[in-house]
Structure formats: structure tokens, C-alpha cells
């Protein structure tokens, strides 16, 4: 498998300025991050607020350029200005706020915005728009105004807008943070389906641990560094560490961990309620 996203000693620093625009210091948002994401993988990046996960996401799309180190997306260095549009086409990005990323005033026009920018032929744009809206299950809303949609539906439109650009990789930067539980489930199901049917690489950035249990790989970030890396099970088995990184560990995982510490024969890293129930039933 090809490497889809690769970072090497990635560092990003903000300049702190006083009121007269003098630089009074620098703060590191990303500190020596090395990650490698293979094509077709579902990767989750976990971290609490201010851990640098969103800053990292913006590097994958060349919205931010590294202070030090290098980012390769689909084999292209994000620093090369002539590759900028290629990079952005390869790694589509979905943002947190559903309202602030929809440009069109009609759903289908918004989905067509990306392909228009890429200079795709008119007929092909229509095909892509239809395909993408079908893929996210929003085809019946194609003539609607985005203002009348729910948060979850808006995010699905935003996802369709990204798929219409035929990216190899989709970066979702906390796509569910502003949604209610129903909308959140809606968006996650859409992402899951896309991954299965379109075989795109998915990078999900979130602070909800429940959302990463289906991921192939999980990275945990804290203070701009990648502090944990592994499969969801490996990550979830280290409850104490996760709490130290201020993540909300799911209740099942905590319960299973406590039972295990009390001596019940339960393996570490329980992800789902059903899993624990089955294990407990088998105990007798």
C-alpha cells in the first residue's frame, strides 16, 4: 500500500505578538510529529482542545505550511507552490462548523463548487454532483436551501462537496463537534459507508473516543505531540494514560477496566457495550 499522508519532524509555531505587533515569543502548536497513513486506512486523531490536532489537520491540506519539517500528501510535498491545488484536491477537508463551509445557496450548487474550481467540464460536474449526493444520501435535498437543513444534513452536504472533487483522502476536522447525537450518528454512518464503498482514506479528527472504535489506527495528541499510537484496542486498554491526556474515556471502557482491576478475567481495551455484556454473561 502506498503512503497517503506522511509527515517528517513536523513543527508548527505561532508567533505571539504584543499590541504593537512585536514578536514576544513563539508557541509550538505542533512539536516534532511523525505520522504515516497508508492508502485506504481509517485513521483517527484524538486529542482534547488545544492538543494541536486541528492544526495538524490544516497541514494535510496545505492551509498551513510547516515551520520545520515536511508533509507529503499523496507523494506531493505541501511546500511546493505549484503542487498546492493538487494537494488540496487529493486531501479534501470537512470542517467543524456546518454553516461556515457551505458556499452555495442551493445544495447541488454547493456540491458543484469544488469541481468548478478544478475546471471540470460542465457535464462531468453534474455527474459528480449527482454521484456525491447519492453517496451521502442527500440526493432528495438537491434543490433545497442549506439553511433549512439540520446540522447533520449540512455536514453530509459538506462531505458530498468534498467527494465531488474525487479526493484520495478525506480529512474531517471535528465534523461532529457542533451536532446533536442524532446528527453525529448520521455523519459517522455516512463516513463509514464512504470508506467501504469509495475506498477513500479517512482521517477523522475528534475528541469523542466513541467515534474512533472502528478506526484502523488511532493517534492520540497532547501538547502538539503524538503521545500514543495503535489500534483502538491498544489505545483503549490504557485508561489511566487516556485520562491523563484529558480524554473522556467511554463508560464501558472505564467499567471494564475497574472490573478487571477487581480481579475479573476481562481483557483490557473493551470498546463496545455488547462486547462487555457478552464477556460478563460468559463468566458463570
Amino acid at each position: 500500500m502506498e503512503s497517503m499522508v506522511h509527515t517528517e519532524n513536523l513543527v508548527f509555531e505561532y508567533e505571539k505578538q504584543d499590541e504593537e505587533n512585536h514578536v514576544i515569543g513563539r508557541s509550538r502548536a505542533i512539536d516534532e510529529v511523525n505520522i504515516d497513513i497508508r492508502e485506504g486506512q481509517f485513521v483517527a486523531i484524538l486529542g482534547h482542545n488545544g492538543s494541536g490536532k486541528s492544526t495538524l489537520a490544516k497541514h494535510l491540506n496545505a492551509i498551513l505550511l510547516p515551520t520545520q519539517g515536511t508533509v507529503w500528501v499523496n507523494g506531493q510535498n505541501t511546500r511546493q507552490p505549484e503542487k498546492l491545488w493538487n494537494v488540496r484536491q487529493s486531501a479534501g477537508m470537512v470542517f467543524q462548523n456546518p454553516d461556515n463551509q457551505i458556499i452555495g445557496t442551493v445544495v447541488e450548487e454547493d456540491v458543484g463548487f469544488g469541481p468548478e474550481n478544478l475546471g471540470v467540464e460542465t457535464d462531468r460536474i453534474w455527474e459528480r454532483v449527482e454521484e456525491s449526493l447519492r453517496a451521502v444520501g442527500m440526493i432528495e435535498y438537491r434543490y433545497h436551501s442549506p439553511n433549512k437543513l439540520s446540522g447533520g444534513q449540512k455536514q453530509r452536504v459538506a462531505i458530498a462537496g468534498v467527494i465531488a472533487m474525487r479526493p484520495k483522502c478525506i480529512v474531517l476536522d471535528e465534523p461532529t463537534a457542533m451536532l446533536d447525537p442524532v446528527g453525529r450518528r448520521e455523519v459517522l454512518r455516512t463516513v463509514e459507508e464512504l470508506r467501504r464503498q469509495e475506498k477513500v482514506t479517512v482521517i477523522l479528527i475528534t475528541h469523542y473516543m466513541e467515534e474512533v472504535i472502528d478506526a484502523d489506527r488511532v493517534f492520540v495528541m497532547d501538547h502538539g505531540r503524538v503521545v500514543m499510537e495503535g489500534t483502538p484496542r491498544e489505545i483503549f486498554s490504557q485508561v489511566e494514560l487516556l485520562k491523563r491526556y484529558r480524554l473522556d474515556v467511554p463508560q464501558v471502557t472505564i467499567l471494564a477496566d475497574k472490573l478487571r482491576k477487581r480481579g475479573l478475567p476481562i481483557p483490557a481495551g473493551i470498546l463496545k457495550k455488547e462486547e462487555l455484556v457478552e464477556l460478563l454473561c460468559r463468566l458463570n
Partner: protein, 274 residues
């Protein structure tokens, strides 16, 4: 209350008017607005009324929806009417109270001015109801394209307009939310004189501006992430192409304008309104 503002909003429906080329609608609306000032007689008003009603019918936009769009401009309308009523001195005096005089000519001017303004707003809002803002900006972009040669950034201006239109309802909703939040914190937005009222708007406008800038920032990022890089090398999902119905619409417009001018003028001079 703030959500009642319907001017500049798209009303989705499937009508002939919705399908017309935006350029046709822009040119025809302009023609229509000018035509309202080309006649001075009752038959002229009749023709304009018939035309407007027919167009509204064709558009499938509910009449009440259009009327709702009038609400914010009622004040303006009243002021115009009052000024015309009292300041026009023509014909017989109808009423005289202290320094205020209403003449027959003044009354007529006031009534007809009001009708003209209402028709003007109805006509132009009908254009925005039946044209998606993107269509509208595409139309403007295409009509103004020749200005590109004298270095007017036509595409950029058109894009800015379409974004502004898209965010009108969002910002209105936000204003509503902020107002409620401030009222919940004890802000008094209703009482006091104009200056006090204006001052009480500050705690609403400041958060509104902060959030508008935040949104602008987010949106710019989202647009760049989707490879937006200006008008160069950009294709169109809905390129503008004249079809049969568009020529028909131009023709209908020409017939209407001719009718209004001819009928409006063909009446003997003395029953012209002004």
C-alpha cells in the same frame, strides 16, 4: 420579527420564471423598473398591474410571501406618501388644517407614487425570489464581463455578492439569538428615545461583528480548501446559455414596454396625472 425580511431570498419552486436565464431576468427587471416611470395615466397603471399579476402567477411564488417582503419598507413608503401628500400643490384644495394643505394633485401623486414603489419592490423582489443568488451573480458577472477589460474585478465582486446573500439569513438568525441572549441578561432594547435605543444596539452589534469576522475567516479557509483560486480556469456547473424561452421572455418584455408607453401616452393630455 427579524426573520420576516424576505427581500433577497430565494423561493424554491419549479416555474418558467425560475428556469429563465438570470441575464434575461436582470435585463427585464431593469426594463420593468424603468417602465414604471414611463407612463402617467390610469390605463398605464392597469397594464403594469396586469403584467405584474401575470408574472407573479407565473412565478408560483405565493402572493403573501411577496407581501411579507414589503413590511420592512413600509416606513419608507409612508414617508414618501406623506411628503408627496403635503408638498405637492396642484389642483383643487381638498383639506386645509393649519399649515397643512392637501390638494387633489397631491393626493394623486401620493397614491400613484405609493403604487409605483410597491410595484417596484414587488418586481425586483420577484427577481430574487425566482433566481438563486448564484444564478443572479452569474448573470451579473456575465453582463458586466466587458468591464474586465478596464480591470474591474467582475468575478470577485460577483463572488462577494453571492456570499453576502448566502449569509443574510444566517446573520439574521444570529442577530435574533444575540438579542434574546442580551434580553435574558437584562438588556433593555425597547424603551427610551432614539439615542438610547441606538446605544442599546451596541451590545448586539459588537458580538455580531465578532462572529461575522469569525465566519468570514472560516469560510475563506473552506473555500481555499476546496481549491478556490479566483475566476481563472474555473468552469461553470450552470453555464449561461440562451434558450427559446429566454428569447420569448425578451420578446414579451418588449411587447409590455411598448404597450405601457403607447397606452400610457395615447390618452388625452388633460387626464395625465402629472
Amino acid at each position: 420579527m427579524i426573520r420576516d425580511i424576505t427581500i433577497g431570498q430565494y423561493y424554491p419552486a419549479k416555474s418558467v420564471l425560475h428556469r429563465l436565464d438570470p441575464r434575461v431576468k436582470l435585463v427585464c427587471t431593469l426594463c420593468y423598473l424603468v417602465s414604471l416611470f414611463l407612463f402617467k395615466s390610469i390605463p398605464g397603471y392597469l397594464v403594469a398591474t396586469v403584467f405584474l399579476v401575470a408574472i407573479i402567477r407565473l412565478s408560483k411564488v405565493p402572493f403573501s410571501y411577496i407581501m411579507r417582503g414589503m413590511r420592512p419598507v413600509i416606513m419608507l413608503l409612508m414617508i414618501t406618501v406623506v411628503f408627496n401628500l403635503f408638498l405637492t400643490r396642484e389642483g383643487d384644495v381638498l383639506v386645509r388644517v393649519w399649515i397643512f394643505t392637501i390638494t387633489e394633485g397631491g393626493l394623486r401623486t401620493a397614491v400613484y407614487m405609493a403604487i409605483r414603489l410597491v410595484y417596484l419592490i414587488a418586481g425586483s423582489s420577484l427577481m430574487t425570489f425566482t433566481t438563486t443568488p448564484n444564478g443572479l451573480t452569474d448573470g451579473i458577472e456575465s453582463l458586466l464581463h466587458p468591464l474586465n477589460r478596464i480591470r474591474v474585478p467582475v468575478h470577485e465582486v460577483a463572488m462577494m455578492m453571492s456570499i453576502a446573500l448566502r449569509f443574510i439569513p444566517i446573520l439574521l438568525e444570529e442577530t435574533d439569538k444575540i438579542m434574546k441572549a442580551q434580553i435574558a441578561r437584562g438588556a433593555d432594547l425597547e424603551s427610551g428615545n432614539i439615542i438610547q435605543k441606538a446605544r442599546s444596539m451596541v451590545p448586539i452589534l459588537v458580538p455580531l461583528f465578532v462572529s461575522a469576522f469569525q465566519r468570514a475567516n472560516d469560510l475563506a479557509m473552506a473555500m481555499e480548501a476546496r481549491c478556490y483560486h479566483g475566476g481563472e480556469g474555473r468552469t461553470k456547473m450552470k453555464p449561461l446559455k440562451y434558450k427559446g424561452r429566454d428569447y420569448a421572455a425578451y420578446f414579451a418584455m418588449a411587447v409590455y414596454t411598448a404597450a405601457v408607453v403607447l397606452i400610457g401616452r395615447s390618452v388625452p393630455l388633460h387626464i395625465w396625472i402629472f
